[in-house]
Structures are given as C-alpha cells and as structure tokens.
Symmetry: C2
Subunit: 111 residues, 2 copies
DNA sequence: GCCCTATACCTGGCATTACCGGGTATAGTC
DNA sequence: GACTATACCCGGTAATGCCAGGTATAGGGC
C-alpha cells in the first residue's frame, strides 16, 4: 500500500458511513449499485468494505432492508432509512461542517 | 459515549495527523501547547491522543525533536518537520480536497 | 517542611473502522 | 457446458483516536 493510499484510507474513516446514509436517503438503493457509485466517488476501495458496513447499519437500526427480485441475476437487497438513521445523518451533518472548516483553516495557516 | 461524540471521534481519524504536521510546519511547537490548540479547534478530545501520535510521527521519520528548557515546569520537547514530513503533508493536501468535495456534494444531494 | 496547582511528558488497553482476499448463488451467452 | 455479469457475504488485519491513569519539575500558601 502506497503512502498516498494510506492517507486516503484513513480520511474515509467516519465519512463513509454517512455518505452511505445520504445516498439511501436520496433514493432507495441496493448494495451492489451503491458500491459502484461510492467507488466512482472515491469513497471506497472495493465492495468488500461496503457490505460489512451495511450489515452494521442494519443491526444498529439505522436502515431497514427488503428483498426485491431482479430481471437478471440474484435478487437485490434494498435499503431504506429509519427515523434513527435520519437523526444520525443529521448529527453527522452538524459535526461535519465545523470539522471540515477546522481542517481547511489549519491547512491554510500552514501554507 | 454519546452518538454525537462517536461521529466526531471517527471524523477525526485521518485528519488529526495532518493537522498536527501543519501546525508544526507553521512554527515549531511542543506537545503540551499543541494539545491545547487542537482541543480548542475541536480536533482532539484530550492530550492522551496527541502524545502517542507524536511518538509515531517521530518513529516514522516525519518529525524531529529537541529538548528546550523552560522558565517554569519541565523542559519542553519541540518538534520540527523533516523533508519526509513535508512530503506527507503535501500528499494529505492533495487527498483532502477531493474527499472533502465528494462528501459535501453527497450531503447536498441528500437534503 | 508540606500540600496543592500548573506545567509538561508518557503508557497500556480498548473500540471502531476500512481494507483485502476469498467465497457463494443466479441468469444469460457462446 | 464453460464463461461472464450480477449480486450478496465473511474472516482476519492494520490503523487510529479515546480513556484512565502515571511521572516529574517549579512555585505559592499555610
């Protein structure tokens, strides 16, 4: 693993969970599609990261799931936010803004 | 630990290391003072987080240290960036911008 | 002399989180 | 019948921040 990869990996910690919740709130989604979107956004390195996270969100009561049959391939597991999930997403948004600004300001002061 | 604290704790993962490097680059600093500044910025919860991090930075060759006697209390351990540390800080700045923007955009789409 | 506070550094054990490599099952194509 | 695409999942690993504690020096008040 390169030094740059390590930086990115650690940056993703803590934000990925809420980007997933945000995507689910924006419109119901299933795991495999989410994985593709998040990879394109540079938020995960592979689907192996996403499925354990989704399982955790479910067992914490932040999302609910339902199986939907697909035209091709295996059935899909769709995710929906629970009220607890919505509250957590809002808590994240409250925490994200000041932390983002603190980092931006710190970086500006150094360069 | 409250739910909001958990959010903040995980958000800090990955950014703290580089905020420390940035502060050191902005002007030599010692641990105890850094801890106060970072706590005020909401980037750490206590000094217990900072000292192990500084030790790690040193053993990775990102910073160098020197002891300086103080007027009052124990001597202070001052930190300076090495060329490797400067390069790491630049690597972080390259990785931070796109990730920050990806999160901002994801949050905007959800609300 | 003795306690208390402030300064300043450090450690061990813990929980959380993302990564990697692999595995399973269904449907369509050549 | 082999191959590819879709779609889900698990076990073990490394990293990072937190907490609760510990150590040492200097000065003020009694």
């Amino acid at each position: 693993m390169s030094a740059d990869d390590r930086v990115t990996t650690n940056l993703r910690k803590g934000v990925l969970e809420f980007c997933v919740l945000a995507h689910i709130q924006a419109g119901d989604a299933y795991g495999f599609e989410l994985a593709r979107v998040l990879e394109a956004d540079g938020l995960i390195a592979g689907e192996g990261t996403l499925y354990p996270l989704l399982t955790r969100l479910r067992s914490s009561g932040l999302v609910e799931t339902r199986w939907v049959e697909s035209d091709a391939g295996r059935p899909r597991k769709y995710y929906t936010l629970t009220p607890v999930g919505v509250a957590q997403l809002e808590a994240f948004q409250r925490a994200w803004i000041p932390l983002r600004d603190a980092v931006d300001q710190t970086m500006r002061r150094s360069s």
